[in-house]
Subunit: 199 residues, 2 copies
DNA sequence: AGCGGGGTTGCGGATAACCACAATTGTTCA
DNA sequence: TGAACAATTGTGGTTATCCGCAACCCCGCT
């Protein structure tokens, strides 16, 4: 899925205006008339950003935001809020929304924020330095050790790993110990945490 | 450490100008005259953003950027680039830099981008939806189970956990099993991955 | 030939995890 | 007051992990 601005608003006039606006600024976009409609099309790998009306018939923008959060969405969300909805939008920002824009909005400002949200999304997905913490140590591992490690991280028993690789359990144990040593961890749990880009 | 704009530039005039600029806009900032100097003060928990001159005597901004990446920094980086350095800066953005600004820069624009970078940093650290994948299941856990889980994630043995909580090992085992069941995982490794915001 | 590194294996024992079965408190809520 | 739930513990047994000690094979390099 290519990065696009995903727009959810129940006001057709707004949808049309935004479609025109983004097209004129060469920003790819697509509109949905309701939270439910968007949810039906939502997939975890959507990229770009989400422009979301706070107040809508049916499921509100906030509710959608929360729901997407639960489902693991990381799409940056920009809320469109009427002047009365600002406290709501602020609360949303505190919960991790990317930004919010007051209605009526200034075209340039909105486009600017959408572009930034999309840049944000892109940079967060960049393979770059994010997970490089462990890569230095990872490079010390021999190929075979890497194979074993994969399976350790899959939560498999040594016995199973031995089976899959057609080697003795004892060998797996040896690899396991070396892996922990080289990666500077004491347990499989620590290893998983180290490699899950957490902190 | 409170969020501030961390500024690294080897030109004293620029440093002074930026200090003044941010102060006038009520954005906390601090300056360093070289990459090396900043590196000496760098800590993993710095918050805010990093404004970095691409070209400097000694270590360049790009080098510092790479180095920080290796050390696990997640501070969003805004590069200040002369017009000749733009290709470099663009490359940096592809590697995960947050933004770059051409010199000479427009004050408003720079402040705006710095604020966005800081918002980005703040929202990324927000307890919000990021790790909410698991939070639904996490809420099913009883307080006691949570206590046990913390210690499991610390890689401790059941025996040690039992000791710390002053309960029998058997009890820990029961909690452990329940935790795995409620969280829908089969091993401590999976649990760690689930809770490390990976995907 | 000698050396080192990577991969492999066996033995045996200490330690921990995992589990089914069974049971006892204390609290909250209908 | 009785059902439901959280927290607790025990017994006994199976299965895994973790390690020291010792060893063999293959390969590339000196």
């Amino acid at each position: 899925m290519n990065p696009i601005a995903h727009i959810v608003d129940d006001d057709e006039a707004i949808r049309d205006a935004l479609t025109w606006l983004f097209r004129s600024r060469h920003v790819a976009s697509r509109v949905w008339p309701s939270a439910e409609a968007f949810l039906a099309d939502w997939r975890e790998d959507l990229r770009g950003c989400l422009v979301l009306d706070v107040r809508m018939g049916g499921m509100s923008g906030l509710q959608l935001f929360d729901l997407l959060g639960e489902r693991g969405s990381r799409l940056p969300v920009i809320f469109l809020s009427g002047h009365g909805d600002i406290p709501l939008a602020v609360a949303a920002v505190k919960k991790g929304a990317f930004d919010f824009v007051e209605k009526p909005f200034n075209d340039n400002e909105l486009v600017d924020r959408v572009i930034r949200a999309m840049q944000f999304d892109a940079s967060r997905r960049a393979p770059g330095p994010i997970a490089t913490v462990a890569s230095a140590r990872l490079n010390q591992l021999t190929p075979r050790e890497r194979e074993v490690m994969e399976r350790i991280l899959a939560g498999k028993y040594n016995k199973v790993i031995a089976d899959e690789l057609n080697i003795a359990m004892r060998t797996v144990e040896v690899h396991r110990a070396r892996i922990f040593e080289k990666m500077g961890v004491k347990s499989a749990v620590e290893l998983a945490q180290l490699l899950s880009g957490n902190r």
